[in-house]
Amino acid sequence: MKEAKLRKKQLQQQLKHEDALSAAVKIWNVEILPNWETMRYTKRVRDLWWNGIPPSVRGKVWKLAFGNDLNLTPELYEICLNRAKDRLKIMKEAGSDTDSISSFSDLPSSKEASVELIKLDVSRTFPQLCIFQKGGPYHELLQGLLGAYACYRPDVGYVQGMSFIAAVLLLNMDVDDAFICFANLLNRPCQIAFFRLDESLMNSYFETYEEFFHENLPQLYYHFKKLNLNSNLYIIDWLFTLYAKSLPLDVASRVWDVFCRDGEEFLFRTALGILKLHQDILLSMDFIHLAQFLTRLPETISSNELFNALDSINMIIEKKKFSQVFADLREQNKPPSDSN
């Protein structure tokens, strides 16, 4: 009897959830998306946004929110894609001996080397989903998108982490849009700093993060300090994939939802949310357990518990927002004007 009651209750809850979801889909499709520019900043939309974008409209919202400042077109994508394909063909004809072309310097890998690297990595992207691996439905698409980007931005090329970001986009929109979103997303200040491996900028981001870490979770902050656990040991993996590799996909998608609402500061807020959620066990761990835990997060994290933790993370220190703290740090760390 009791069980039947429980089942009924569960069923009711599920129905309620589904009702809420289809209502949300309707609101996004009918009210918000057609009036995007006027509605995106309203409190109602922002609240709805925080609660997660329904998967069926997610791609549309991301596309609008990430925008297209670079004015990219599907035609440009075609051109870059063909160039990438030519390159791959040439390499095949020349045999697999890429060594003569790829110079092993400190510069980002040459484009040719990128193509090899991309091939290697596409199969190692979300291996458990089995759709990006050779023979899988998204294998060619992902490889093409990354190759096209490396042709479009040879100064950035292909950097590991990108394959996860492109994969998440491909799961939510068609390939032209995914390319346009990808290129615009990577052109954001924080992302371009990381994917160009700009050490000075990256360090400023880490330092800014440390300040908010100290502000929000002082006990844990000192615990990490004592153990010499540098935040870059775990946060690099989180930022280079925008959490796509470290959090369950549905949770990562919700992080992306708010990332495209709030910008880069939300990425750092998410890191603090993850730490806060696990604060008690983290405080009891030694260096190696912490390092292992943070570079391989539990697969059971749910978006509700994470967003509850995130809710109470304070992103203002002495009236300064993340961007302001970051700008101040940059100012302080400025090298004396005679560079070198």
Binding site: T98, D99, S163
Partner: protein, 212 residues
């Protein structure tokens, strides 16, 4: 668990040579055909026994992509051992060894023990680098050498343990200053030589075989 020493290891080498798979085989005794690529660094740990002493290995498995070099360089600090890995089916990964070695020598303690590993020995049909070439490179640069397979587990155990033996020997010979943590060696909590008797606060008797 208590241990006599803790050694920090770092695994380096080109992307895709199988560093993470080697680590997983060593710590979990399994092979994952498609492992996630590594961004930044991943970690593993295992206890081994040498000369009757428990030794804890703390292993840093670094990202191989060239772009990440500037980041991974800082991870050499305090490493007692390094596994330098190439893929016997990809000659370019062998050709890059010199650069890796220079990097390692430059950013680590001069006593760091380096083990050269030619991985994927199960793929004999696709072999691109002869075993003799690996041996010659190792001889020339004073490294220990082994071919392994993370897939079949061949020589994996040996690669990690022989490196530790070498480090242990260096400690015995007094080459390593074990009180200087920059050498990548820590003395276990119960074995502290500098202040014996400090660790008996728990009041329980002998807890040497207790588990954490």
């Amino acid at each position: 668990m208590s241990y006599a020493y803790l050694f920090k290891y770092i695994i380096i080498g080109d992307t895709g040579v199988g560093k993470s798979c080697l680590l997983l085989q060593f710590t979990d005794k399994r092979f994952q055909p498609v492992h996630d690529l590594t961004i930044g660094v991943e970690f593993g740990a295992r206890m081994i026994t040498i000369d009757g002493k428990q030794i804890k290995l703390q292993i840093w498995d670094t990202a191989g992509q060239e772009s990440f070099r500037s980041i991974t360089r800082s991870y050499y600090r305090g490493a007692a051992g390094a596994l330098l890995v190439y893929d016997i089916t990809r000659r370019d990964t062998f050709n890059h060894l010199t650069t890796w070695l220079e990097d390692a020598r430059q950013h680590s303690s001069s006593n760091m023990v380096i083990m050269l590993i030619g991985n994927k020995s199960d793929l004999e049909a696709r072999r691109d680098v002869k075993k003799e070439e690996g041996e010659a490179f190792a001889r020339e640069h004073g490294l220990i050498f082994m071919e392994t397979s993370a897939k079949t587990a061949a020589n994996v155990e040996e690669a990690f343990i022989n490196t530790a033996k070498e480090i242990y020997q260096k400690i015995q010979d007094g080459v390593f200053d074990i009180n200087n943590e920059a050498n990548g060696i820590k003395i276990g909590p119960q074995h502290s030589l500098t202040n014996p008797g400090m660790s008996s606060s728990s009041g329980g008797g002998n807890q040497s075989s207790g588990c954490c």
